[in-house]
């Protein structure tokens, strides 16, 4: 298969960026999207050019590093995947593919397709943890948790922090991310102890870092590679409201 790739190139945070066009051929349909970029980079290096810088690590959909906006969709034209799980058989032979980094004021570009998602770390540091003494090993099993709650917490905990929700949202809101993190802890007894402080602190941090507000478009849920439901946003809103009322 052959493709025309329009890729965002940007030398560093301070330089202006622009699209560069590359042609590539002899790509097998079983090749993954990132492997195709690897092949392109090999060519660029041998031609004496600078290869395209992009984030990747596990290449299996778990680490949340890979982050490309492909043909206008976060993680490309397939559902429930991250960019590394996208394969070239999802494209038509000869197609022009546009590749951009995550678009968000809160994720400044570092180079080419790499953005700085440190904002997510800062939100987590603001309250996305449990810091109470939960006892030793037997104590954890001493508090029964219903399977329904455990499953719900696990579904929320599946969030890999990739940022596709932010990139997709027309407001650039991080609500799905914050909701997933708050939800996964709020459903557990150990998480209830600091629930009030957590909701307030994480939402405040989110606002401070320049993410947008949520207008319930639901676009984030559609693009989330882990299928996280916006019901968690509803839970976050409730947690936040309760926290504010208690104040």
């Amino acid at each position: 298969m052959k493709f025309t790739l329009k890729i965002w190139r940007q030398k560093d945070a301070k330089s202006k960026g622009r699209f560069e066009t590359y042609n590539i051929d002899e790509i097998s349909a079983d090749t993954s999207f990132l492997e195709m970029i690897d092949i392109l980079n090999d060519k660029l290096i041998m031609d004496g050019k600078v290869p395209v810088a992009f984030d990747h690590d596990c290449r299996e959909g778990i680490c949340g590093m890979c982050s490309m906006h492909i043909n206008g969709r976060a993680h490309g034209p397939d559902d429930d995947i991250t960019t590394c799980q996208l394969h070239m058989r999802k494209f038509k032979d000869g197609e022009t593919i546009t590749i951009e980094p995550w678009r968000s004021a809160a994720f400044p570009i570092i180079k080419d397709l790499i953005v700085d998602r440190g904002a997510f770390d800062k939100i987590l540091q603001a309250g996305g943890y449990i810091s109470v003494n939960t006892g030793g090993v037997p104590d954890a099993n001493a508090i029964p948790i219903s399977k329904v709650d455990a499953e719900e917490a696990m579904d929320a905990a599946a969030c890999i922090g990739c940022g596709a929700c932010v990139a997709t949202c027309k407001n650039g809101s991080a609500m799905l991310f914050v909701a997933a993190r708050v939800s996964s802890l709020a459903k557990l007894p150990q998480g209830r102890v600091e629930a009030t402080r957590r909701a307030k602190a994480m939402v405040a941090k989110m606002d401070e870092l320049g993410f947008g507000g949520c207008t319930n478009t639901g676009a984030c849920e559609v693009e989330c590679p882990k299928n996280i439901s916006i019901a968690h946003i509803a839970r976050l809103n409730r947690e936040f409201l309760m926290a504010k009322i208690k104040d």
Binding site: K49, V50, P51, D80, I81, Q85
Partner: protein, 454 residues
């Protein structure tokens, strides 16, 4: 991390390269803890994340920390087979699938040929023509034999010519029996996310056709030698998790890496590091102006400049792939003396080639992923050599380390407990061969026996 700083025999900090701007930064500390993971990527293709590397433990080794049992690498039996030579890494299919999946290859060679040419589908092959080889060879454990046994069994069938895909390097993991017995919804509840992952990659539906799997490098049991407090032989340098050699011995069971992460990081180190730090309570903060920091920074700046200046004709990846092939072919599932000696020579030659002909584009003082890879690869050559050397030294088959010369009549691993019941801790000796320290293993309550899963 570029280097561990050792002052007066104690680990007193690290120097690192900032990945965004390329600057070398110094950090002083009263103790250093390495939790840097495994070195499986020395084989290039592994289930590890692509940025996972062994450079941190390797620099610790060069500073004097013993590297124990490097040849104990685990090959996981159920990974998605390689699709072509542009493969960047291997995807793991969770071991939990072996709870319900049945592994098989066709009994008849003609069926194998027809499968490879896509003239028939796997479901067309009747039960009596299927060789459920794990169930056949190991009636007691069946599909649940340990990873090294399952991996070698898959290799045996594929080497005999019964591999079921075009490359001949794949066997079936079949859920039809389980789906019939438990119903599709139960299988979906248990493995839904794994089946979805498989389908995205291979474009086949595991509910309707058997999965194809093949063994792949996964975990490294070897690593830095540590004592029971998780401290290496360099005072103040700790190694926890996959980067140390401890907890698993020569083999490793599923989820035990997670176990080790918790055990080392949560239950052990917080209680043992205090003991060391207590003796350092009067030590002031370590100044990064110390000459050792200066020396290390200078040495690594020179190394980086050297790598950048070569401007040869081959990419870093092309060298890495070549190393991976040498390692997989000679230091993989089945090792023998001739192959290991050959590997050592070939790695040495490849290393020389690398330092003559590698091309790293861009600049050092910038985000430069090719440079990052090159720095790691420079370490992998030496690591691969030590791995092969350790495998050559251990003239027995033990756990994940299989020497063809040391096998039972049925082809199972045969240990030599009289001569090899020790931990092989290697000490870096610069340009000369590393020095082997043997830590004898004394079993007081357990009687050593030949492993049998029949």
């Amino acid at each position: 991390m570029l280097d561990v700083i050792v002052i007066d025999g104690k680990a007193r900090g690290v120097i690192v390269r900032n990945l965004v701007n390329g600057e070398i930064e110094r950090y002083g500390a009263h103790a250093v803890v390495l939790a840097t993971g495994g070195y499986g990527n020395v084989f290039f293709l592994s289930t590890n994340a692509m940025n996972s590397n062994g450079s941190a433990v390797w620099t610790a080794y060069r500073k004097g920390a013993f590297f124990a049992n490097p040849s104990f690498t685990q090959i996981h039996p159920t990974c998605i087979p390689v699709h072509g030579d542009q493969q960047s890494k291997l995807t793991l299919m969770s071991e939990s699938l072996r709870n319900d999946g049945r592994i098989w290859v066709p009994k008849k060679m003609e069926d194998v040929m027809k499968l490879r040419k896509k003239q028939i589908k796997p479901i067309d092959i009747p039960e009596e023509d299927r060789d459920y080889y794990l169930e056949r060879r190991y009636p007691a454990y069946g599909n649940l034999v340990p990873r090294d046994v399952a991996s070698r069994a898959a290799k045996e069938r594929c080497d005999a010519g019964f591999g079921v895909n075009e490359t001949g390097l794949a066997v079936f993991l079949d859920f039809a029996t389980a789906i019939k017995r438990l119903g599709k919804h139960v299988i979906e509840e248990r493995y839904g996310n794994l089946f979805q992952m498989y389908e995205k990659i291979v474009d086949e539906n595991p509910y309707e056709t058997p999965m194809m799997i093949y063994p792949a490098i996964h975990y490294t049991m070897g690593g830095l030698w540590v004592d029971y407090n998780l401290m290496t032989n360099i005072p103040g340098l700790y190694a926890i998790g996959e980067c140390n050699f401890s907890d698993h011995g020569a083999n490793r069971l599923g989820a035990s890496a997670l176990m080790q992460g918790l055990a080392d990081g949560y239950f052990v180190l917080p209680y043992t590091i205090g003991d060391y730090l207590a003796n350092e309570i009067m030590t002031p903060k370590i100044s990064t102006d110390h000459p050792e920091f200066e020396k290390a920074e200078k040495a690594h700046k020179e190394l980086i400049n050297k790598i950048m200046s070569i401007k040869g004709k081959r990419t870093v990846d092309s060298f890495h792939k070549a190393l991976g092939i040498i390692m997989w072919d000679n230091v993989g599932m089945a090792r023998n003396a001739e192959g290991l000696k050959k590997a050592i020579e070939e790695i040495k030659a490849l290393k020389v080639e690398f330092w003559k002909d590698v091309r790293v584009p861009g600049e050092a003082n910038d985000l430069n992923q090719e440079l990052e890879k090159a720095i790691r690869l420079a370490d992998y050559f030496e690591m691969g050599e030590l791995l092969a050397r350790d495998a050559l030294n251990r003239n027995e088959s033990c756990g994940g380390h299989f020497r063809e010369e040391s096998a039972t009549e049925e082809g199972e691993a045969k240990r030599d407990d009289e001569n090899y019941a020790y931990v092989a801790a290697w000490e870096y000796k610069g340009d000369t061969e590393p020095l082997l320290h043997k830590e004898d293993l004394n079993f007081e309550f357990i009687e050593l026996k030949q492993r049998s899963y029949k």
